[in-house]
Amino acid sequence: MNFLRNQLDKVKHNFERGQKWEKYYYAYEALDTFMFAPNTTNDVKGSQIRDAIDLKRLMMTVIIGMVPCLLFGIWNVGHQHFLAIGQAGATLGDKLWVGALQVVPIIIISYGVGLGIEFIFSTLRKHPVNEGFLVTGMLIPLVMPPDVPLWQVAVATAFAVIIGKEAFGGTGMNVVNVALTARAFLYFAYPSDLSGDVWTFIGDGQAVAGYSGATPLSLAADAATTGVNVVQSFNSFGAGWNEGVFTLSNLFMGIRPGSIGETSTLMCLIGALILIATGAGSWKIIVSVFGGAYVMGLFLNLVGGNAFTQMPAHYHLVIGGLAFGAVFMATDPVTASQTETGKWVYGFLIGLFTVLIRVFNPAYPEGIMLAILLMNVFAPLIDYFVVSANKKRRLQRATV
C-alpha cells in the first residue's frame, strides 16, 4: 500500500491552496480519504481523542443493511421473469443471471450519475463530497421497477440530487428524502412507465396465458369498487402461472412482482435488525411506522365501508413497499424528525398516512412514498413542538 500512498502524496500538493488544481481539491480529497483514512490529528485544545466512527462507515453500515434486499431482489427479478414466461423450471443460476443483467446496470447508472453530480457540485461549491450518496445511490435502484428504462433512472437521479439535495445546500440540508424524490419524480413524470405491467421483467420472452401484472395494491383498490373479498382475491390470483403468489406467507417472503428491492418483508426485517443492532437506524421510527399502519388498518376494519377497508390490518404490513420504506427511507437521519419524542410521532404518522392514502386514494395506490415525503416536510414542525416543550420546561423551572 506504500506505493499507492506515495503516488497520492506525489500529486497531493497540486491540489492544495494556490496550486494549479486547487479547484479540484475536494474531488481529490474524496478519493484520497476513500483510499486512506486521513493522517489528521485533533487540535491542541478540546477533545484530543475521537471515536473511530466516521460518516463513511455509518453510511456503509446502512448499505450492508440493504444487501439482503438487494440479493433477494436480484434473484426475485429473475424468478418472476421465468414464471411470467412460463419456464418455472429455470435454474437458480439462470434466475440470478437474468436478475443481475437487469439490476446491475441500474445500480451503475444511479451511482455514476449521482456521484458525478456530487463531484461537480463539490468543485463548484467548494465543499467536501459527502458520503450520503453512497446510501442514496443504492436506495434508488431498489425502489425502481425491474424494467425501468436506464435513461429514466439517470434523469430521476439527476433530478433528485440537483433539485432534492444540492439546491438546498447538499447533504445534511435536504428537506425530503433524496431517493424518494427520484422515485416520485418518475412516478409523476412518466406515470405510464411506473404503473400497470411494469413490475415483472419480461424482456424478449412471451408472457404466458393468464399472466397479469396486477399487484396486491391494485387488486385491493379494485376490490374497493367491485366489493370482492380482498383476501380471497389475493389467494386466487396467479392461478395457472404463479400459483399462490399473493398468499400471506408469500407476501411476507416477497416472492412476487414489485420494485427490485422492496418486495420482501422478511429481507427488510433482516435489514432492520442490522440497522437497529448497529444503531444506524432509529428503532423508534421503524417500530412506529409499522405500528401506525397497523393501528390505522384496525381502525378502518372497525369503520368498514368497502372491501379494501375490511382487509385484515396485518396485510397492510406486507403489501406494497411499507416495510422497505419504514426501514430504509423513514429512518434517513437527515430528513426524519430529529428529536427522540418526535421520532415516535413522525413514524406513527407515516404508517397512518400510508394506509389512509392506499385505501382512500386509488389514484396513488402506493401510499408509503407519499406518506414519507409528506412527513419529511412536517418533521421540522414535529421537532418544533418537541423543542418548544423542552424550552417550556426550562422556563417553568425558572419561575418556581
Binding site: M1, L4, R5, E29, T33, M35, F36, A37, P38, N39, T40, T41, N42, D43, V44, K45, G46, S47, Q48, I49, R50, D51, A52, I53, D54, L55, K56, R57, L58, M60, T61, I64, P128, N130, E131, G132, G170, T171, G172, M173, A277, T278, G279, A280, S282, P333, V334, A336, Q338, T339, E340, K343, V387, N390, K391, R393, R394, L395, R397, A398
Partner: protein, 454 residues
C-alpha cells in the same frame, strides 16, 4: 439531606495507563508558569511585575483590568525569568525560576471560631489577595467568579469520570481538616448551600464523607456524571439570572490552608498517566510546573502527545510544557498522524467507539482498557442527526439544537435551549462521538462568549 441521582446516559472512556496509587516526591522542576489562557472571562491581564523581580508564593503577577482586585499570584517563590507576549502584546505566560525551598507571602491566620465571625468582605479580600480566587468558577459561562455577586449555591464535584482521571482518594488523602475549613469559609459566601457531589459506587474518601455543614449528594452512572455542570443540572439547575459557583476540592483545600495557616499553598498531586507512560503514578509538585522532569526516561516512545488535563478536554502542551492552572493530570497518548489504508471500513475491536457500526466491535468488551491516539478517524462533514449526542448527554438539554442555535448566532434561542447550564466539559463527549467531527467544545465557547458579551 442530599439527593441520590442515577444517570443512565453517558460513556466512560476506558483508556490504558491509569495512574497507580503511588505517590512520589520527585526533584522539583526548575520553572513554573502561569497562563492567562487557563481562565475564561479575563478582559485584559495587567502585569504588575518585571522580569528579574523575585516573588514569593502568593505574590501578585497580574490582575484583570476590569476587576483589579482579582489577583493572579505566583505558585512558588523565585525569580521572574520571562514575561512572554504574543501578537499585539497579548500576555501568553509568566515564567518563574523556582527557589529550592518555597517561601510564602504571609496572610492573616484564623481559628475556626474566628472564621465564623469574620465579615464576608474580609473573607473575600483574603481569597482575592492570595490568588486563590480564580479557582472559583462561575456558572453560567465558566468564568472566574465575580466577587461582587452572591451565588445561590456552591458546588464541588468530589469525583472525576474523565478518561485517565486521577483518583480523588489519592489526590486529597489526609486533607480532611483543610477541606473542612475551606467549606466553612465558602459557606459564608453563598446564600444557599454548599453541595459536595460524590460517586455512589466507588469508595468515597473521608475528606468528603466526614465533612460537616454541607449537602452531600450521590451520583451513579458513566461519564459525564463527574462533571459539575451535569450535577448542578440535576440538583438545582441554573436559570436565567442565576449565579452558581463551582470549585474543585483542591481549591477548597487551598482556601482552608489560607485561613488556617495563612499561606497560599499551591502544592498538588498530579497524575502522570496514559498508555505511553512507563510508570503511571502520582507526583507531588506545584501549580504550573514544567512537566519535563516527570516525563524524562518515563516514556515508551517519542512520538507522543502530552496533554495537560485529560484527553477529552485538555490542552496539548508538548514534552517540555507546563501544567495548566486547574489540572491535576497529565495524559500522554500516541500521536495519530498516520494514514490507514481504507481505514474507514477496516474492522476490529482495537479501535474505541461508542458506536456499533459495521466493523466497530469495541462495544463487546466495554471493560477492556484501550490505547487511543490523536487521529481524527475521519474528515469533517455536514451535520447528520443520528441522535448520538443525546445518548451521551444525561441532561434535559438538546445538544444538537443548542449547537445549531450557536452556529446561527441566535442568542434568544441559545438561552431558551439552556446554554446557561453547560460549559465545554459537559458536552465534550459529543465532540468525541460525533460522526461529522465537529469541534463541539469550540462552538460552545463561541456561543458562551456571544451570550456573555451581548
Amino acid at each position: 439531606m442530599g439527593k441520590f441521582i442515577k444517570l443512565k446516559k453517558g460513556f466512560t472512556i476506558n483508556l490504558a495507563g491509569k495512574a497507580a496509587p503511588k505517590v512520589v516526591e520527585p526533584e522539583q522542576p526548575e520553572t513554573f508558569v502561569i497562563k492567562p489562557a487557563d481562565f475564561h472571562g479575563i478582559y485584559l491581564p495587567k502585569v504588575v511585575i518585571k522580569e528579574g523581580d523575585s516573588v514569593k508564593a502568593g505574590t501578585a503577577l497580574f490582575h484583570d483590568k476590569k476587576h483589579e482586585n482579582i489577583l493572579f499570584t505566583s505558585p512558588v517563590s523565585g525569580e521572574i525569568v520571562e514575561v512572554k507576549r504574543g501578537e499585539k502584546r497579548k500576555l501568553l505566560e509568566i515564567k518563574i525560576l523556582a527557589d529550592k525551598k518555597v517561601e510564602f507571602e504571609l496572610f492573616p491566620k484564623f481559628s475556626v471560631s474566628d472564621i465564623a465571625n469574620l465579615p464576608v468582605q474580609e473573607i473575600k479580600n483574603q481569597i482575592l489577595k492570595s490568588g486563590i480566587w480564580p479557582s472559583i468558577v462561575q456558572r453560567p459561562y465558566g468564568v472566574v467568579a465575580d466577587p461582587t455577586t452572591t451565588p445561590k449555591a456552591i458546588h464541588i464535584s468530589a469525583f472525576d469520570t474523565h478518561p485517565l482521571a486521577p483518583d480523588y482518594n489519592v489526590l486529597f488523602k489526609g486533607q480532611d481538616q483543610a477541606f473542612q475549613v475551606g467549606v466553612d469559609v465558602l459557606k459564608k459566601l453563598t446564600s444557599g448551600a454548599v453541595h459536595v457531589n460524590t460517586h455512589s459506587t466507588s469508595e468515597v474518601s473521608t475528606v468528603f464523607s466526614q465533612v460537616k455543614g454541607v449537602e452531600v449528594n450521590k451520583f451513579s452512572g458513566q461519564h459525564p456524571a463527574g462533571c459539575v455542570g451535569v450535577q448542578i443540572h440535576h440538583i438545582d439547575p441554573i436559570n436565567k439570572g442565576d449565579v452558581v459557583w463551582t470549585i474543585t476540592p483542591l481549591g477548597v483545600i487551598q482556601i482552608g490552608k489560607l485561613f488556617s495557616q495563612g499561606i497560599y499553598d499551591a502544592s498538588k498531586l498530579v497524575a502522570i498517566a496514559g498508555s505511553e507512560v512507563k510508570n503511571p503514578q502520582y507526583y507531588k509538585t506545584y501549580t504550573g510546573a514544567s512537566v519535563k522532569k516527570f516525563l524524562e526516561n518515563n516514556l515508551n516512545n517519542d512520538h507522543v502527545r502530552v496533554i495537560s488535563g485529560n484527553p477529552l478536554t485538555g490542552t496539548a502542551i508538548g514534552k517540555d510544557g507546563h501544567l495548566g492552572f486547574f489540572d491535576q493530570q497529565v495524559s500522554v497518548i500516541p500521536e495519530g498522524d498516520y494514514y490507514e489504508f481504507v481505514g474507514w471500513i477496516t474492522p476490529g475491536a482495537r479501535k474505541l467507539s461508542f458506536h456499533r457500526s459495521i466493523g466497530l466491535f469495541s462495544f463487546l468488551s466495554p471493560n477492556k482498557e484501550r490505547v487511543v491516539d490523536t487521529n481524527t478517524h475521519g474528515e469533517p462533514r455536514a451535520f447528520v442527526q443520528t441522535g448520538i449526542f443525546e445518548q451521551v448527554t444525561p441532561m434535559d438539554i438538546l445538544p444538537t439544537h443548542l449547537l445549531k442555535s450557536i452556529l446561527a448566532e441566535d442568542i434568544d434561542e441559545m438561552e431558551a435551549l439552556g446554554i446557561y447550564e453547560v460549559i465545554e466539559e459537559d458536552l465534550a463527549l459529543c465532540e468525541f462521538v460525533d460522526v461529522s467531527k465537529h469541534k463541539v467544545q469550540e462552538i460552545l465557547r463561541e456561543g458562551l462568549d456571544l451570550v456573555q458579551n451581548s
